[in-house]
């Protein structure tokens, strides 16, 4: 059913694998572009401290091709991938009628959302 099963036989695992594959390529590409811009404008890591995360200016930074914008988008993409993976698994288990696995996935998602909430409250 799962581990050790032939390639492609678990549709939930396959959906999660596709998401992770595409998500990793997207996040690393964005980070890579940000690093190129970082080098192009002559900023020096550890000497020049990058700006803290400010969601309201990220879009403007990306449009203006400022390195921090692309770096933050890529890093946030990276950070969000595991949560997206759990969400896709939850939907897949629910659709296939695997209620116990869906309940576990919902539990993991709750813990991740709790971590997000605690992060916002204690920042």
């Amino acid at each position: 059913m799962n581990a050790g099963s032939p390639r492609g036989s678990d549709p939930v695992a396959n959906a999660v694998a596709r998401l992770l594959s595409a998500g990793t390529v997207a996040s690393v590409s964005l980070v890579g572009l940000g690093v190129l811009l970082l080098a192009a404008v002559g900023l020096v890591p550890t000497r020049d401290r990058g700006p803290a995360l400010e969601p309201s200016v990220i879009l403007a930074d990306v449009i203006a091709l400022r390195p921090a914008g692309l770096l933050w988008v890529g890093l946030l993409f990276t950070l969000a991938l595991p949560t997206a993976r759990v969400t896709v698994a939850l939907l897949g288990f629910s659709r296939s009628g695997d209620r116990r696995a869906a309940a576990v996935a919902a539990g993991v998602l709750c813990v991740l959302l709790m971590a997000f909430g605690v992060a916002l409250v204690t920042r």
Binding site: A13, A17, A39, P45, T46, G50, V118
Partner: protein
């Protein structure tokens, strides 16, 4: 530019080492950034957690597509690892950085000793061969029975969950993936074959690291100018290693790694004790 390249190169090196030896990059990223680039310990942990997520996502995609990772078992363990990581992430900001450095030095020494005693095909910390699971006994029923895979059943789930919670705390405190605890826990305690345990651990460390990375991010510990090059480098290194692994003499790499870990453990302990070591 040279510093950006140095960070990328450092990421590549840690990515190659980590992927070749199945330990993830975190075990070397934190010392690299603290001892090599002078970053505060918590900032280094934050960057390391992001790198851990990247390598976990990339490798999990492959392991899941091949049917090597056990998604249901991994998600069950993630319930407790993520909770542990949340607790560890909060604890990390309450503890003195020197204490964290001391804990990291102990972890490095433990991994170095485990690697030195390890035979090919055994996980770090493992004391048994990597073939069949070492546990025997009555077959479990209920939900646990659905967690097994081809040729094995999952046993001692409560103990496995407890060890997973510990792995989560350790990951959040020290910026490592936690595979050093999870792989032996799954293989030796729960009776999961080593290959499945390694693949499943690689998949779960992304969620573990993500839970605590949110806390570090919210507290301003992530410097994007450092995190970007390191994440990029680790991804490149891990990708190279996955293609080179069958050509590289692993015993040589392992002993080199043991030497590096031992040296770094001493330097990290010296930092914890605030002792100056001349280079």
């Amino acid at each position: 530019m040279p510093l950006t390249l140095l960070l990328i190169a450092g990421g590549v090196g840690t990515g190659v080492f980590g992927a070749l030896l199945g330990l993830g990059g975190g075990i070397l990223i934190v010392p690299l950034l603290t001892l090599g680039f002078g970053l505060p310990f918590r900032d280094a942990v934050a960057v390391s957690l992001l790198a851990v997520i990247t390598t976990s996502s990339a490798s999990a995609a492959i392991y899941l597509a091949r049917g090597a990772a056990n998604l249901r078992l991994g998600m069950t363990l993630e319930l407790l690892t993520a909770l542990g990581a949340l607790f560890g992430g909060l604890l990390a900001f309450a503890l003195d950085e020197r204490l964290l450095a001391g804990l990291f030095a102990i972890l490095l020494a433990y991994v170095a000793v485990s690697m030195a005693r390890r035979r090919e095909g055994r996980p770090p910390g493992s004391a048994v061969p990597s073939g069949e699971p070492p546990i025997d006994g009555p077959r479990p029923g209920g939900y646990v029975a659905t967690l097994g895979g081809a040729g094995y059943v999952v046993r001692r789930l409560p103990l496995g969950l407890a060890l997973s919670a510990f792995a989560g705390v350790q990951s959040a405190l020290l910026g490592v993936g936690g595979g050093i605890v999870k792989v032996p826990a799954m293989h030796l305690v729960m009776g999961v074959p080593l290959r499945v345990a390694t693949a499943t651990s690689n998949m779960t460390i992304g969620v573990t690291a993500s839970a605590s990375a949110m806390l570090y991010l919210a507290r301003g510990a992530v410097d994007p100018y450092v995190a970007g090059p390191v994440v990029l480098g680790v991804f490149i290194g891990a990708t190279i290693a996955s293609r080179l692994s069958h050509r590289v003499p692993l015993p040589l790499v392992r002993w080199l790694f043991v030497g590096v870990l031992t040296l770094v453990a001493f330097q990290m302990m010296a930092r914890a004790l605030q002792v100056s070591i001349s280079r």
